[in-house]
Assembly symmetry: D2
Homo-oligomer: 252 residues x 4
């Protein structure tokens, strides 16, 4: 498993020097940088998540050092801020991201003025198999969006996805991200299908929210992600709660 | 108080028709649309938040119907999806956003194929005074970013801001949004300073996370927001936990 | 008349320091900066043209110094390069842009390392009336795009619009810009309709290309531009070659 | 040689339906679509040029059908307009782009309402060697930008690059594009160095403008383009007028 942490260099100070910059400007900057980041990864078969916007997470299985450098330069050449990159590998997504974090911390930390465009850590040529688990909430439009206060819906979804994220991190060392609407994507190690069944049941009993999930499995995150989306679509059309893993496992 | 809900028309079905679109494509679309949205609002003195990305929240005090229409058209002309807008007014931000939600629900709901670029609800010419409370976490870089696993830090910040959001919504009907890093912005009614002191204390005892806050107060959200950022900067430089309201109140 | 020249600071050296940056990176930067520029102007009732991409032209009638500063900061905060702005006023668009050029040259020139985000020249509160003349080529799709080699068509259109631009600059001090497809927009002083008839005739005899034109007239360039587009649409639907000025003049 | 023509589907009608869209909106759309286009190509080793903005030119040597489809979908999923693609191959860039034009014309033409996201023509697995010739104007900042009226400079550069483009197209079937500032990039077949010397001399005598040129040579346009930029940088630093080809030819 290979995960890269893309951390804006000295961003906090930049946002307030020489004086605080307008919030719309910062929001536009962060979200455009994220868009370029995710597209640069996507063009190379990877996946990106905004994380905290100043600490972005890239799933970079199969990408070498040159590819990471190219993405780093593309961002540095496009924005008034630069990005340092820590590449981490490990048995699980959690372990890989932990390794990436340590690489960057050792390289100087987020607000060290003299760390600029560091690129640390070594990619692996054998990242192994990962799973992408794409979750959404059953009947969210009818039960929430078209019935409830938009802010209450937002808080409820946030809360449910936060519970999902913590559960998956604690139990299987997966890393999970909100990707808009009522969708969350978990990057997981190679799990048995019943792990997902248990997770959905846990979430329902703890938060009252009913998720479903499509799962893809591949050595490349882009391909696994598309398989996950196709599987989730089968859930939507057939009313099932979990799709993807059995089929893939059988054909494997 | 005036809040507008910008809701993508029939977006869920679009993302999977004729077949699921690649996730990097959707992420890039959503975040660029948000960037344009926040900039179009910012150019007119407003503020925007990504909400759930398919349900974006605009603070539009002082913007008339023509301005809302122009922003709606700008987005519709730039993306393959269109946006419906509900304008809500009320005594508090929560009430205004609730009214905006109801307007849109009455206009057909989020996945009604025949609702396209609706613009419902009436702006007010007297939106009154609002407060912008800009929060961040004390010593987040030293205590978290440079010490901890990036994903654990992300989860902790997410959890803390979620608690903050719920507390402020339940107690004073404010609406609060994560804006990157360790920052959250609350749009609040005209509150006494001690409300914020109580909130910070509540958060510390409940989550162990220590926030500080800069507050701005104005009839225009853009001006209030800049004042809040300046006030937060004073917190950072002087070590205080709350800045802005007293000063403004005295000078008012 | 008021025209502003937005000139990237020390851009040439930046593109090759420390070593030449990839061309796709520079193209993406320049065209996104232009998109933000034109939108920031458009949100305030102005018009923008890419000029040479490192020297962009803004038609800023009615915009004050604060608005120019806000646009300058928005760009400086979004990109790795900064922008200096010269504001010029004059009887004609050509004269106003000439004055803007001189302002910037006096402020240090384009590759002076120590000129950063200069803002020079004074807006006028009485910019007067301007005309926007929106040209396109009659039957371009049937006669060129669907028949000819794409590159030859591109060269022919380039040549024709270049001739148009020079003719209008020399005869009436208008400034004309290619805006994509077969479209060119001239910003002109308040002209008699027969000037346009003579121009079309001149172009036809000199280049063999038949243009038509819709004209708008207003103190605000955004409104004049929309009127010009509506007028050009009337040309397209009724087969006429010049629309807009007579009507406006009669109703004025 | 392989060149692809990316043509917006039915774009002219779209810009005026149901009524003319604001010019800033169209400019922002066109330039952002171009930015995404050039970046999607760049991420895959290709080069893109804006052409007429509604007819964009991609140098796609080495890219297969799947890559063209991915770029087409990325654009179609990001904008309210779709793109058809004609892939052409030939001995020269001019011949390849001509073949691409014919492919698209045969597929229905630019304003056929029922042509949507066509992808026609066959990539070649053996595109051969191409040259990228990167031109700029000697002393443009001192002689023009810092001395002259910005619009006159723009017209002079436009005129000079137009002459350069026509000369190279007529003599060696190269295709040349303005890329901002005083820069033009020609995509050329594998030429002898003296062709460039003759071209520079011709341009000087015809337009009075002195160009210099850095040349790169490779089977991949991205690599050839970087070599050309490095070579042009040597011209700038050593005062020579032509760099790149001799060195490469010697080492070949």
């Amino acid at each position: 498993m290979q995960v890269a942490l893309f951390q804006l260099d000295n961003y906090g100070p930049w946002t307030t020097t020489p004086e605080p910059r307008p919030e719309p400007t910062l929001q536009a900057l962060q979200s455009r940088l994220y868009a370029d980041f995710v597209e640069a990864l996507g063009d190379r078969g990877g996946y990106g998540f905004y994380g905290r916007f100043d600490n972005l997470v890239g799933i970079t299985n199969g990408l070498d050092r040159t590819a990471h450098r190219a993405i780093q330069q593309q961002l540095g050449d496009a924005y008034p801020v630069t990005v340092s990159v820590g590449i981490g590998t490990g048995e699980t997504p959690g372990a890989a991201l932990g390794a990436a974090s340590e690489q960057l911390q050792a390289a100087g930390g987020a607000q060290t003025a003299d760390r600029t465009e560091a690129l640390v850590g070594d990619p692996t040529t054998d990242p192994g198999v990962l799973q992408v688990a794409h979750f959404d909430i059953v009947d969210v439009t009818q039960n929430y969006t078209n019935q409830e206060h938009a802010y209450e819906t937002m808080l409820q979804i946030q809360e449910a996805i936060s519970s999902l994220s913590m559960y998956l991190y604690e139990t299987v060392d997966a890393i999970t991200f909100f990707v808009g609407g009522d969708n969350a994507i978990a990057i997981a190690p190679d799990l048995d299908p019943d792990v997902y069944a248990t997770a959905l049941e846990h979430l329902r009993s703890e938060t009252g929210v009913e998720f479903r999930v499509g799962i893809g499995r591949d050595s490349h995150v882009g391909r696994a992600g598309m398989a996950a989306k196709d599987a989730l679509e089968r859930c939507r059309q057939t009313g099932t709660r979990i799709e993807g893993l059995q089929t893939v496992a059988q054909g494997d």
